[in-house]
Structures are given as structure tokens and as C-alpha cells.
């Protein structure tokens, strides 16, 4: 235990990242996404391990065995393999962080066509809030034609009313 250079504790974050990115791509496949958003999400997940020994143990073990299973079946980590471990603690933890991190990434917003905050640009009022042109412009006022909304159908009038009318 004397020589720090031979200490058996590796730099886990650096080691886990590539496998974790492969897993994230398999679990949340977006053909149009580059690696950047997945790598940033992986970093957020790995950063949380420092605060939680249980998640670190579960994730390290889970990722290692998942890679092993993939190698044994001669394939990559894919959705089919992940379905088999859907309820595993480490995978649930990964999904919980990913859904609030991967989709909170400005590059992902741009890739999916979401422009986000607009107030600082004067809103969308002059920036396409009504630019949909493949349908006719609809009425915006309330209906003022001859029909009336029947609030209570005849067969749903209270009994005593029907009886007193009978």
C-alpha cells in the first residue's frame, strides 16, 4: 500500500465515460445527434457518483457486466440488451439523470428545433408565432352561429324535473 503509483484505485470517471456514452446512445438513440450532448450527459452522471457511493458501486459494476454481456453475444450495447436490464438500479439512475440533462442541453434544443427563451428578442410576436402556412387561418372569435351548446342532454335532466313535467 506504500507506492501511490501502483495503487489499485483507477480514475473511474475517465474509464467509465466511453461505455456510458455507448449506453446513452443505445438508450436514447437520436440519429441526428453528435457525441457532444451524450458526452456532456455522461459527465453529469459521473460527477454525481462522487456524492453517492451506492450509485458509484452500482454503476461501475453494471456498466462492466453490460459490456461483458455485449462482448459475449458478439454485439454492441443495444436497446434489446438494455430491455433485459430495464429495472436494474444503475440503469434507472442513468435514465433519471439523462431525461433531465440530455434534453436540457442547448445543442439538443437546436437539433430538435426548439428555440427556447424569446423574451429578450421581443418574444415570437414578430418571429414566427403564427407562421404555420399549411392550414387555413382559423376563426379566433367564439362561435356566433345558430347552434347552441346543449349543456345537459334531455336524458340527463334530473329525475324530479322529468317527473314533474310528466
Amino acid at each position: 500500500m506504500s507506492d501511490p503509483a501502483s495503487a489499485s484505485t483507477p480514475e473511474p470517471a475517465a474509464d467509465l465515460a466511453p461505455a456510458l456514452v455507448r449506453l446513452l446512445r443505445a438508450a436514447y438513440p437520436h440519429p441526428s445527434f453528435p457525441d457532444g450532448p451524450y458526452e456532456r450527459t455522461a459527465r453529469v452522471i459521473l460527477d454525481q457518483l462522487d456524492a453517492d457511493l451506492w450509485h458509484r458501486l452500482a454503476l461501475e459494476r453494471g456498466l462492466a457486466t453490460l459490456e461483458l454481456r455485449a462482448a459475449q453475444s458478439g454485439s454492441e450495447i443495444d436497446e434489446k440488451l438494455l430491455r433485459e436490464i430495464e429495472d436494474a438500479e444503475f440503469f434507472r439512475f442513468i435514465r433519471g439523470v439523462t431525461v433531465t440533462t440530455l434534453y436540457n442541453d442547448p445543442e439538443v434544443w437546436e437539433l430538435l428545433g426548439y428555440e427556447g427563451s424569446s423574451f429578450e428578442h421581443g418574444g415570437y410576436l414578430h418571429r414566427g408565432f403564427d407562421d404555420l402556412d399549411w392550414l387555413p387561418d382559423p376563426r379566433i372569435e367564439e362561435y356566433d352561429g345558430p347552434e347552441q351548446l346543449v349543456e345537459v342532454a334531455d336524458h340527463d335532466q334530473p329525475q324530479q324535473t322529468q317527473e314533474s313535467q310528466a
Partner: protein
Amino acid sequence: MSDQFGTPIDQDTEAVVIIGSGAGGGTVAHELTQRGIPCVVLEAGAWLKPDDYENDEWAAFNQMAWLDNRTTSGGYRITRDFPNLPAWIVKVVGGSTTHWSGATPRFKEYEFKGRSHYGEIEGANLLDWPIELADLAPYYDKAEIAIGSTHRHGRPALPANNNYKVFAGGAEKIGYKFYATGPYGTNAEPYDGRPASVQDGFNFQGDKSTAKWSTAVREVPRAVESGRCDLRTQCQAVQVTHDAQGRANGVLYLDKDGNLHRQAAKVVCVAGNSIESPRLLLMSASSLHPDGLANSSGQVGRNYMRHTTGSVYARFDQPVRMYRGETMAGIIADEARLDTSRGFAGGYYLETLSLGVPFLAAFVDPGTWGREFTEVMDAYARTAGLWIVGEDLPQESNRITLNTGAKDQWGLPVPDVHFDDHPNDVAMREHGYGRADLLYEAVGANGTHHTPPYPATHNLGTLRMSARPEDGVIGAFGEAHDVPGLFVSDGSVMTTGAAANPTLTIVALAIRQAEHIADRLGKGDL
């Protein structure tokens, strides 16, 4: 951050003490102070100003959502997906009016008479309200004028945004008639000192432009400026006390540092939303009220309603960009009626709804992943969305209780929110999903996704109004049957939930209640 605003009132002075500053509490404070009646307002959250609001879904959620620990139980899916977030409501000055979208339909006449119209439905605890639409009509007018509802009292309609064009186009094709861009509580043109909408697409996060009405931009500032309001923020009420004769006489509350204070009261108005309000009364049990304050009926915390909701997101070949513009400026009322030939009692509205990418990912189908999920997200810019919102049935077993096994940050028992759908709720939701599919398919949708109910934004009924003390907690003006001087001023009062978004009705009831309180105070009767 300062935690006191307005004109200080001594803690020993018996004031009107209002707990909560949202649609109900903010309105009561405004109405009473305009009549010269001093009020202390205790608000659990801080006072965020429009400049503070974040147009970023998660940042705003973490800034203003009520995130104190809560637990859930029962059969609803929230217990799995969001076990500590049964409700998506707000903890700041203005309460959930900061977060509301703005739809302002009125309740219908039949909806005040649920028991008479729906009859005896197994498992439901239906009751007629002790008031009728006619009692509330003049106050609906006042509430619409306060809010500045579009399509009402000369206020113009908002224009059609992209999401509405799809929604209304589909509505027309399937024969719906009663659709429009409102009534909606956001200015289409400048009104009441606030500007017109710039269609910035953020509502649930607070409106930086102030085009949207909330009590944080209208009622609370006016109350504070009246010289008769002492607003204490970051103050959590923990007990309502009573005197030997059983009259409400004070409120114990914690300041932001956890110090306990007592404010003397001649009237207490509880307006903490339908989870906190019954929690407060349950925590206020005394030897006179061993089962919780004002609970001789056993109904405190029961009949919790969260509206029958669901969303439908439809994918098209062409761009929609639903996120541009007012979130809910589109309402279809054709299904807001009673016709049990549809297979359920009560009615529902369809309303436009848009979520940004962060929240669509979190809420579209919580827990799903894989290509099934990413296909929905990949279609984001070509997606239109709507919300189903309808009446759910009151059930005695759907209730707020004190979970003494879990404590909040102050060491107080957290509220447990127990809920099971009634079969009527399920039938209505399925009908809504089906109608929304037809609507979107009629304008070319090539797929729809049925999103389950979100953490509830409409929380109702847990301190309900009743004619007879044995059937409910409060009477026709919101005063507790058991405790003179104790009023309830929020959505907890609703005997049944109706189909309409509740804010307009909460405001109308609060205006009516304040008039009643002022009248009684004037006569020395309170």
C-alpha cells in the same frame, strides 16, 4: 431578500390574517384592503418580480415550484413516476397564478348541482353546492374584469398561434363549433396598466412581460400599496388557533429562519391550495377539535380532486413549432356538457398546450426510453399539443392526510396525497384521447401520443362547501361550519370540480367572500 412588505401590523393586533397570496388569498387581501380593512398576509414563498422569472423550464421549476417533501399513495401513476411531487404548484408571492396558463371558462349551471344531475354514482361522494351559478354570476363578471379575460367585457381575442391553427383546424373538420382563442387571462392589447402579449411562449414559468394576469402583478402590489397590508413572505403557517369559545383567534407561523411567531387574528382566511390548506387544519388539532380543526364532519382533507386530465401530442409532416406563442390560448368547449350517452358523467374541455423540449422529455411518458421515446422527441418541431381537462368525481378515500412518518424541513409531518381514478374519470380521459386523435388525424397527423396526467396543477375540494355541517367543512361563504371566523378562500372549497380551469372561479368566490367578510366586520358581526 426582504421578507416584509407594506405597512407593518403589530403581532398582537387582531387583524384579518390571510394565509397564501395566490388566486384566493391575493384576491381577498386586495378586496379587503381596498375597503380599508387591515390584513396580514403570510406567504410561504418569496416575492419574485417579473425580472426574476427564468424563461428556462427546469431553472424556473427549481425557482418557484412547491418542492417541500410530500408523499403519495393510491393507484395513480404519479406514485411511480413522481412519488414526491403529486402537485405542480407554486411557492412564491402570487402562488399558482404565477404559473397558470390563463384559461378562464366559467362553471356551468349543472356543475353546481352534481348530485342532482349525476345521481348516485358508486364510489363517488357527490354533493350539490350550497350556491348556484346565479349567485356567482356577478362575481364572475368582476373576476373577468380583474383578470382582463379575452373575449369578455370588450377585451379582444388573442390571435391564432401555430399550435392553435392545428387545433382549431382539426376542431372545425370534426364538426366542433365552440372553439376560440379564449377566454384567456392574458392581454391581447394593453389593459389595466399591463402590456399586450409578445407571444414569448413562457407561461408556467411566470410571465416576464406581465401581459398575463397574476395576483403577483395586480392584487398583491395594490394591497401592499394601500397602506393597510402587511405582507410577510417566506412565512409558513403551522397552526390556526382558537379561543375558549371556539372562535379562530390567531395563526402560528415560522419565519424563513424557522422562528415561531404568533399573529393575533379576528378573521383567518386559509388559502394555501388544496394540499396545504387541509394539512394546516389537520395540524391545528386541539382538545376542542381532536380530529383536526373544523373537522366534525370528518371531511377535512377528503374529496381531493385533481381534474381528469391527459395530453395528446400529434406529429405532422410539416413544421408546427407549438412552443411559439401563448401556451393555452385555444379552448374547445363542445365536450364541456353533460351527456352520459358518451359513457361518463360530467364534461371536459380541450385546450392547446405546449411544452418545451426539457419538459416534454420529462412528462410525455415518464420512464419511457428507447426509440419509441426518441421518435417523439425527434418530431418536436412538427408536433402539436393539447390538454384534456374535465371534471373528476369526488371520492371520500381520495384525501390529504398527515404522514407522521415523514418530516419536512421544519420537522412537521408531510402531507400524503392519496388518489385513485374513479372509473368515470378513466372513461372521460379515454373519450378525450379518442376525440383528440380524430381532431389531429383530420388535419393530417401521422401519429399521436397519449400523455398521462402531470403532477396536478388543479387541486380541489379538500375543505368543501356544503349546506349541512355533516356533509362538508365550510358554508356558502367559505366560513367553517365549526369555527366562527375561520374562512377558506382557495380551491379547497369546491364541492365538485366542474370541467373548467379553476382560477376564475376561485377569484370570483374570493371577491364574493371578501364582500361578505367586509359586510360582517362593518356590522361588528365578526
